[in-house]
Symmetry: C2
Subunit: 326 residues, 2 copies
Amino acid sequence: MSIPGVATVEAVVEAGGAGTARVMARVEERMVELVSSHGDPLARHGGETITAGGKRLRPLLVCIAAGVPVAESDTLVRAAVAVELVHAATLVHDDVLDGANLRRGRPTVVAAGGRLMAVATGDLLFSRAFAELAAGGEIGPIRALSVAASALAAGELMQRADRWNLTVDQDRYLERCRLKTGVLFRAACELGALAGGAPTGALGSFGESIGVAFQLLDDVLDVTGPVERTGKPRGTDLLDGTVTLPLIEACRRDPGLALLDLRALADPRRAASVCDQIEATGALDHARDHALALVADAKAALPGWLPDAQRGALELVADGVVERYS
Amino acid sequence: MSIPGVATVEAVVEAGGAGTARVMARVEERMVELVSSHGDPLARHGGETITAGGKRLRPLLVCIAAGVPVAESDTLVRAAVAVELVHAATLVHDDVLDGANLRRGRPTVVAAGGRLMAVATGDLLFSRAFAELAAGGEIGPIRALSVAASALAAGELMQRADRWNLTVDQDRYLERCRLKTGVLFRAACELGALAGGAPTGALGSFGESIGVAFQLLDDVLDVTGPVERTGKPRGTDLLDGTVTLPLIEACRRDPGLALLDLRALADPRRAASVCDQIEATGALDHARDHALALVADAKAALPGWLPDAQRGALELVADGVVERYS
């Protein structure tokens, strides 16, 4: 699906030491507590969104960026919860936009409770993220998270503005990936670094790079499928008018494709056939290579002062991003 | 409309001294700057939302709560901008929910740019509010605003949960008003108090009370109209399934009304006739009296240590909330 496999996550938790499992368990507890403390509608819909889970990659990054072995602390739990709440808020709002019915095999908030419920649920998860950090009393994490939250929304706006537009180039696409995915991974690492008392710069860059790679590979998977693996039909992005690197590069290689009218697709079978055309140009290798290079560079650029155990755990996460592709 | 008249706002600005006009001008500039610094889609849609204005009652409350004459400061401008951005974000999201086409005589973001654009625009305004406060480096205002933002979303969820439900009672309705409107007025006063170095408790309570009164009178205006004054047909809340105090009290007084099926209204003329029925029960006086009592109590409870000039300015705002009714 859209996250590294369970095996990778388990390996990272193990690499982080016993503290990691404890922090991650407290993150789950705290999130359930938060959504159940706001009355019935949120408990029902926010609870569903949050307990449906996902592999908690971002909280895990917060933990590992704080240091290995992971030292349990309230600050760390708060940071990890806040990052995951912003992520959850984004998912809930994305589902409103996409009119999606299922996420992780469960009904989305918008499907179960309607648009109004979903917009308000996302807003509440969002607000609670900042309240969670404000309770900790430190300004640095709030600053980092507010930058990331702004970027997420700006990325959505950019994606909307670029919809159906086949003249979008690779640089603009990569900037969108940075805004939509990279910057929250960056914030996860920065919040971890702040909790661990380390400088944020290098860890933040690492996070951003693997976040962009993550998005790139997600976009490749949309073309390759199969549905059993991704949980959605091939070419969902095409049908949605979202122009990603595989298509951008394929249009460059096959000028015939550049004449495609995405709005006219409107049919999963035609979308699947365009996916085949994209694949035939070799554009998927181009996109995948770009992602692999980002991950390799991110690993290579990890600063010298990092203890070996922490470096190893961060590399495991980075490899997990790649692994889900292969 | 939904705010005190221009005359009241001008009187409050004047009462606050020359600093008020300067702070309010800087709030406008800063908001335009913020929305234009996030690329074209936000500049277009967020810009429209923000420049369409409104009377800036909440920023004005921030100023006056900070002290009179208002002393211009970056902290104060940031606080006022942040409160207004959260308010603007809520309006943009509310319009998605209501499918509203016009606000303040201009196309809403959802009408001009679609649902996706509107959800993302609201999210961005929201994030920028916290970024604005984080830039100031103080935790107190962030804490107050995150509580208010959570309450706003919880209030929306509550309104959604109570939709079409004629068994909602006055207490539950008042709690919804507190969440939807009172708590952001409270935050405006608390942020002002923090900027002015004053205790937040009494000013916060004052803000919350006049905020609830504001919402109550807004709900009365929905029943009385006329459309030339409110900008929307009478009974819009009824058609929308939003059960407010006028209807709750009318049902108590006229058991026939309690049998009404709101979902079956579906027609502005029938809604207007239900408005007449509500009015005939005297329920509007009940709701209005409740609001007036809240405002009177809020004024009476202003703390003794407030300088006369500041007390006078706060009373002007409170009177403005009532004035728009009469």
